[in-house]
Structures are given as C-alpha cells and as structure tokens.
C-alpha cells in the first residue's frame, strides 16, 4: 500500500464481560478500493468493526484520515463520514423502507443522494412504503447498503453483506459494492472468498483476536497453503462453487 491508509487501526483491544475478544488488532484500510477483513468464524472480524465504530468498549488507536477517534462517541465518528452496513443488516423492521433510508440522512453540502441509491436499487423506490421487516433478505441488504451510499461518506464498512443471500442477489450486491468502491473506499468483512477475489485489492486476516496477516488479497488467495493455514479453506468444492456463483453472472 503506497498511499497513506485512510483508516489506521493499531493494537485494538476489546474486552466484553471480563473476556478479551480482541487482543491487539492492526489494520490498514487503503484510501481507495476494497480492503477485505478475513478470518475464520469467531476470529473477531465483527468485533473489530464494532470496536472501530465504538459500538463496544475499546482501547488502542483508530485513526481516520490521521485523526484519533478512540474516545469519540459512535454518532460523532460516523458523522465524520462512515457508512456502516452491519452483519445483521441493522434494519428497522417496523419502519418503512423510506423511513429506514430517511434515518440515515445527514446534513451535507449535496444533500442525500437518493438518485444514486434508487438508480442502484430501483426496487427500494417501488417498495418505499413497505415495512422493512416484510422485505426479503436481499432487499433488506439493499436498504442497508443504500443507507451507506446516501451520504458523501469517506469510508463504507460492510460486514458480511452477502451472507445468507441467493446467488443472484450476491452478484447484485457485489456489483453495487464494486461501483461504490470506485468512489469511496470500502472495508469489507467477507467469508465468501470468490467475492473477496473479485472485489478486494488488500486484505487483513484475523486469528484469535489478533492480526495474523496483512497484504495484497490476490497474493494471499493465490497462495493455497497460506489460504488454508490462515482461513482454513483451500480451493475445495465449496470455494469453487462460490467462484461460479459470482463469476458466472458477471
């Protein structure tokens, strides 16, 4: 990574209920493109994201564009230009689609970018008055990603955006993230290595609450031994099928 990182995480530690979940995570998010955060289940990926955002008590250092953010309340940090699509999508089920999007509006120079959101997800316009709780998983993910695109954010954090989605919807989500990443850097937590291969230039791998590896995504995924050692998967049947899922439709 040559240009200075947009987000620099150093020695991030998270203690929940007297138990250390993160022991010291280091992470650099590139100033453009997609940086993937990888790791086996329970490695601490989601906790890292929540720690970066201050949604869990944390210690260490999190620099956004060179400014320290540990100590800032979540809402202040987010207003500095972060769009967050959480693992469970964070949809307000009893609110309509339009209300879910309206909540994410922040005062900015250009106003909310509904044009872009509706262009990428025309369905959200058609379903504006539908309760978000009655949407399919894919449609809910559209709302979650749509909220991150509404404001002129400096960074988008998407936590497993393709989890549990049908293959066709995975392709759609990947295409949207690809387009979003042309304008805004994305930190992507992802288990689907085909998605990572398609989108990410850089990656960090967590293991047991620590950073086990940082580097170029292609180099890691091209090294079968390192992939198996760090992520516990090779290019076995599951990965191959996921490859087909994304690449056949693209």
């Amino acid at each position: 990574m040559t240009a200075p990182a947009l987000l620099v995480v150093r020695d991030l530690r998270v203690l929940i209920g007297g138990r250390h979940i993160l022991h010291g995570v280091d992470l650099d998010v590139a100033p453009q493109g997609v940086t993937a955060l990888l790791g086996r289940n329970g490695a601490g990926k989601t906790t890292t994201v929540r720690g970066v955002l201050g949604l869990v008590p944390r210690a260490g250092s999190v620099l956004l564009d060179g400014e320290e953010t540990v100590g800032l309340p979540t809402h202040t940090l987010v207003r500095r230009g972060i769009g967050y699509a959480p693992e469970d999508r964070g949809i307000f089920a009893d609110l309509t689609v339009a209300e879910n999007l309206r909540l994410a509006e922040r005062r900015g120079a250009d106003g909310p970018a509904y044009g872009l959101v509706h262009e990428l997800f025309p369905e959200l316009k058609r379903r504006a008055k539908q309760l978000a709780g009655t949407l399919s998983g894919g449609q809910q993910q559209m709302v979650a990603i749509g909220r991150t695109l509404l404001n002129g954010n400096r960074l988008i954090i998407a936590d497993e955006p393709t989890k549990g989605l049908a293959p066709k919807v995975v392709t759609e989500v990947v295409q949207v993230l690809e387009r979003a990443a042309e304008a805004v850097p994305v930190l992507l937590v992802e288990q689907n290595l085909a998605v990572v291969r398609r989108l990410a230039a850089h990656c960090a791998v967590l293991a047991d609450g620590r950073t086990a590896h940082q580097g170029e995504a292609a180099a890691l995924l091209g090294d079968e031994e390192a992939t198996r050692r760090l992520l516990g998967v090779g290019r076995g049947p599951l990965t191959s099928r996921q490859d087909l899922t994304v690449e056949a439709d693209s």
Binding site: L53, T74, V78, F92, R102, L103, N151
Partner: protein, 295 residues
C-alpha cells in the same frame, strides 16, 4: 342505565389519567430500557405545581377561568422541567449501570413525596378549580362530573399529539427506530441521547398534565397520589406492550373500566385486584402485551 353511564365515564376518566402517566412511562422504557420509578413523582410535581399556582401564589393564576388554565400550564411546565433534570442529572450518568439506574429512580420516587410532605404536610390539600369544571352534565340520564370529560379530552389530545410526533417528525422517527435498535441508530450518526431527553420531557409533560387534571378528578392533592397511580400505570404499560403508545391507550381504557365496574359491582378494593388478575391472564395468553409494538 344512569349508573352504567356514570361508571363508564368515571372508568374512562380514570383510564385517561392512567394513559397520561403510562404513555410516557411506556415510551421511556421502550426507547431506553429504563423503568422510571420516579414517574409518579413527576405527576405529583405537576399536581402540586398546579395547586400552588391556582392557590394564588403565581401572579395571574387562580382557581377560575384563564387563571386556572395558566396554573395547569405552570404545573405541567414544572413537571416537564423536572423530567428533563431527572434525565440529565440522575438517569444519564447511569446508562451503563442499569441496576443503579433503577435504584436511583426509586430513590427519587421516594424523595419527592417526602419533600412535598416536608414542605406542605402529608395531609391531602383541597384542589382549587373553576366552577365550570366542578359541576356535572347530563348524559343519557346520568349526571356525569365535568372533570371526567376534561381528563378524557386531555388524554385524546395527548394521544393524537404523540401519534403525530412519532409518525410525522424526524425526532419521532428516531424514537421509533431507537425502540427497535438503539445501537443502530447511533451507528447511523444520530445522537440518541437527544431523543432520551426528549422522551423524558414528553413523558414528564403528560404525567404532570395528568397530575394537574387529576387534582380536579380527586378534588385534592396529596404527596402519595403519584406513587399509588404509578402502580396502575405500570400495569397499563405491561398490558399495552412496552413501548406502544396506542397499546397503552387501549390498556388504560380497559383497566380503568374493569377497575370501576369491579369496585362497584363486587366490593370496594376488588377492582384493584381484578386489574392484577387481568394482567396475569393477559400475560399468559400474550406475553408481549396487547400490541408489543410502538405507535
């Protein structure tokens, strides 16, 4: 027939009073997970503020006409202010310690009545009110006290205002979203603490208005009034579904009517028991209350 009408109107008046306390209590719990045991104290502050002002202590206020309206406004404003102070000074510093938070509100709920007793004595004080509101009006052959109608009208206005606030304003949207997932609201860049203070202010305002108009209903104010009404307000909140304003309205009407009818047709005091039995029966059938959702 006239007995039925009178019991119904009295039950509805009592239900209206319960709603004025329970609506705020329900919103506060729904949004913040705070069981506000000091909510009855806010009602008492509203009642004493109105009584104090209507007794000639506030220039322009008095027991009749616009003077009484000003007294009610004053009592309600004092209750609202007290609620804001309660949130900022007592509740806010304890957000990460829910157990201490509950204990602190219990403490305020005990301290306020003690303070009111210390200043104005523990005996009930006659509540001054305009003549027009202390009379009766004829309805289907029954002479119904006007104050029942005043309470019902106030509760309807508060219900409509709350629904408009929740449904049509950005702050209302934040409150509804916060009831579902508070952390996600902050993750969208919204300072949810503003909404906390706001719901405390709204809840305090409604409860204090209930105290001001409850003085008309009971004809007197006493330091323990708020605490004893709070118990039934909690029953209303649980019955209606935590966080649901409309649920609280429906539950308040049902509980007010059941209590009145049971007290009249069985034995005095059995109405209170009937309400608790009703709550237990409902929770067996619908553990999340009548609605289990907001607005």
């Amino acid at each position: 027939m006239s007995t039925l009408v009178l019991l119904t109107m009295t039950g509805l008046g009592l239900g209206a009073l319960y709603f004025l306390i329970a609506s705020g209590l329900s919103l506060i719990f729904g949004l913040m997970d705070v069981l506000n045991f000091a909510h009855g104290a806010l009602l008492s502050i509203g009642a004493y503020g109105t009584w104090w002002a209507a007794s000639g202590n506030l220039p322009g206020a008095g027991p009749g006409g616009w003077g009484f309206a000003l007294a009610v406004l004053f009592g309600t404003a004092v209750g609202t202010l007290a609620a804001v102070v309660l949130e900022l000074v007592v509740v806010r510093p304890l957000y990460t310690r829910p157990r201490e938070q509950v204990l602190a509100t219990v403490g305020v709920g005990l301290a306020v009545p003690a303070l009111l007793s210390g200043v104005w004595g523990s005996d009930a004080r006659t509540f001054p009110g305009p003549e027009a509101l202390s009379g009766t009006f004829g309805l289907l052959g029954a002479d119904v006290p006007v104050n029942r109608l005043v309470l019902i009208a106030a509760a309807v206005v508060v219900l409509v205002a709350l629904r408009l606030f929740l449904g049509r304003t950005r702050h209302g949207l934040v409150v509804r979203a916060g009831v579902e997932d508070r952390a996600m609201v902050t993750a969208l860049g919204i300072d949810v603490r503003t909404a906390f203070t706001l719901v405390f202010a709204i809840g305090g305002c409604a409860a204090a208005l209930g105290g001001a108009l409850g003085g008309l209903y009971f004809g007197s104010v006493d330091p323990r009034q708020g605490t004893s009404l709070l118990i039934f307000a909690f029953v209303v909140v649980v019955t209606g579904g935590m966080g649901s304003v409309t649920g609280a309205a429906v539950a308040a009407v049902v509980i007010g009517l059941v209590q009145q009818f049971a007290n009249y047709y069985t034995a005095a005091g059995l109405g209170d028991l009937a309400v608790v039995v009703l709550l237990a029966a409902l929770l067996l059938v619908r553990p999340r209350g009548l609605t289990g959702r907001l607005a």
